[in-house]
Symmetry: C2
Subunit: 406 residues, 2 copies
């Protein structure tokens, strides 16, 4: 089972399209995703108290129906902090798409990303939805157009697929995601769309999604700012004709492993493409007594501005890492931390028992100059571990965000 260069149209029966609808200047800004048959739906969303209107719309569909067949996405405007007008525009968009697709509005999911506090240009959005409905295709290119249309400050499209077998049938999971800033997901993620032709019950799909998100999207941070729009949905249309997964067991385990590959692959790439990022910074905490302790410590390190700027400067300023662990809220013995850095350029043990090993700064700088760096932390308490992904904090993050709206 391996991830390959596919996308949301890789599973059977999924169509997509992405266009320049006119929300942004000369850039793709609207996408549509549709299954030829109704899908089982799982979804997880931002835990931010301030939720964008499309998040509220989607949550209601997940809660009431557990099923959907299409999704309309736009970038440029987040439709968050837009009051009742924002909710009304959601209904209007879903109606326009549903009419064009021959569906009911409650079968259409919505997702928006972009500036908070501005109203959607509703006419542009509805026209866009109609145009998209006439362009849907199951090609690789169509999936890529959709992945491009949901990008904001992302510099790279993020798509992936994985194929595997369930009860003798070939099953595929495809996915696309966006997210370069305001990335600090908590029980959800920026925008992520996962498709599969697996037959799986809504309950088991939701279970698999929540668990995978916990170990992937919830373990990344670009800037510590949790979005108002985090949305992660999984659409399963059953066209692979495997025996439907309705409980835990061998088939569920295989499906779960595949979904985990897809979500971790996309999450890593979101961190690597963090706003202004030059390097992916992976932090692996081992030797923890509980999983939660390992998660808390790993996330505290990737979220530290001081650690992130040190990585930007290829500077093995390791005290900042121990410092960030210390204020994380997790208990551990501050005298018993081992720390090492690893990258393509090599491996260096930096500290043992929280004291410098007398490592070579030159060697450490060489290792930290790569664009994928791992910090390996052992707290010598038990056998639990967790990995979190972040990125360095650079000038470009500032310039991207100091004038994001202009």
């Amino acid at each position: 089972m391996e991830v390959y260069n596919g996308g949301v149209t890789s599973p059977q029966g999924f169509l997509a399209a992405g266009i320049c609808a006119g929300i942004k200047k000369n850039r793709k800004d609207m996408a549509m995703l549709k299954s030829t048959v109704p899908c089982t739906l799982a979804g997880t969303f931002t835990s931010n108290l301030v939720k964008a209107s499309p998040v509220v719309w989607d949550q209601e569909i997940v809660r009431q129906y557990g099923s959907a067949q299409a999704c309309v996405m736009n970038s440029g405007v987040a439709n968050a902090c837009t009051g009742q007008q924002g909710d009304a525009y959601c209904l209007e968009t879903a109606k326009a798409a549903a009419d064009a697709l021959g569906l009911q509005p409650e079968q259409v999911l919505l997702a928006s990303t972009g500036v908070i506090g501005r109203q959607l240009p509703i006419e542009t959005i509805c026209n866009g939805a109609r145009t998209l409905s006439g362009m849907l295709s199951d090609t690789r290119e169509a999936a890529s157009d959709a992945a491009e249309a949901i990008m904001t400050t992302d510099t790279k499209k993020k798509e992936v697929a994985v194929a595997f077998e369930l009860s003798g049938k070939k099953v595929t999971i495809g996915g696309m995601t966006k997210g370069a800033g305001m990335i600090h997901p908590n029980m959800g993620t920026m925008l992520c769309f996962l498709t599969t032709d697996a037959a799986i019950s809504a309950k088991m799909a939701q279970k698999a999604l929540l668990s995978c998100v916990k170990d992937s999207f919830n373990m990344i941070s670009v800037d510590g700012d949790e979005s108002t729009n985090d949305t992660c949905v999984l659409l399963a249309n059953g066209l692979a004709a495997n025996e439907e997964i309705t409980q835990e067991g061998a088939d569920y385990e295989v499906f779960y492993a595949a979904l985990e590959l897809v979500t971790k692959n996309l999450a890593r790439r979101m961190a690597a493409d963090g706003e202004g990022a030059h390097a992916l910074f992976e932090v692996k905490v081992t030797g923890a007594s509980t999983k939660e302790q390992a998660i808390t410590l790993a996330k505290s390190v990737i979220e530290s501005n001081l650690v992130k700027t040190a990585i930007a400067g290829h500077d093995a300023n390791w005290g900042r890492i121990i410092g960030a662990m210390g204020y994380s809220g997790a208990k551990f013995d501050p005298q018993k931390v081992d720390l090492a850095f690893e990258s393509k350029a090599g491996f260096v043990q930096i500290a043992r028992n929280s004291v410098s090993t007398g490592y070579s700064e030159e060697e450490a700088t060489k290792i930290l100059s790569e664009n994928e760096i791992t910090a390996i932390i052992d707290i010598h308490e038990g056998d639990q571990e967790a990995t979190a992904w972040g990125c360095d904090l650079t000038y470009e993050y500032i310039s991207i965000n100091a004038d994001y709206r202009s």
Copy 2:
């Protein structure tokens, strides 16, 4: 009662000195503070699990004795993550200073700030302590030398004093602080030394200090990174000869108000002089139902990288403020937030009931281009409020921290 341009030598009986001891190149890096008579001592320190050796040393003195007479400070090296050697160097430093001053080691407080993970250059430090002990003076200049010697990436010395009357006697409180990065105090602050000639019991001094710190240093953040070295001590030598404050009452209230003026003044200036900061960003949350709710919301806004970069860009990207409130963990009605910006250039109401007022972007940008900006947030629930102080996030923050050690 007003703050004035004074420092730690403003109260009677306090001597100070600051020198270039040779830890840093051509910059003052060691300071000493001494009272002519033993002092009542109050102190509060970092809650980071990883505590620097001098923090552990001072905590023990506060706990065991509640009294001290001198303090030796150095910048350049933090003496954190230095193991047993770091503890041994604390004892050695205190002994060298005590011998030179005719005191016992346990009457000497210690404070270090700078790079984590390196050992103190102990010979330089002990020689420095001996030199300082021969240079102590009660002049304004001596206080300023000390304030300069504790600076790291600070661009400005931060000193202040306030004079007032207690039981017919003139009483003075003086203070100095440093802290430009790794500033996110929690029950303590970077390095802050407060002196007073008031007669006050250790218990009441500690009570006043903890309460003032909560509303001042604990309400600022530069980068969200809580230090391993946060230290805030108050030395009271009683030379003003007021009736000793041993319980709550009118005298305690006056003393408290004065201490609050000093700590808030210094805290604001720490935020304004945050690493790379071009602007002080004050966030006032009003209409809260509890003080804790107001504190949580105000701090979440000043800590948001996205809000801080928007301030750097003079961009009224107010959705980021509402977003940061939403993920703060505090409950409030996300539909009922009023937001305004204020500075010397004017006042503009940005949002009412969480929706844009249709304000002028040009006017907002003018207001946000000042170097002291206030965001006023009303959540319409009650009459509690809190103010937090932060700063903008600029290119300079990155350049200061990407190569801090080189």
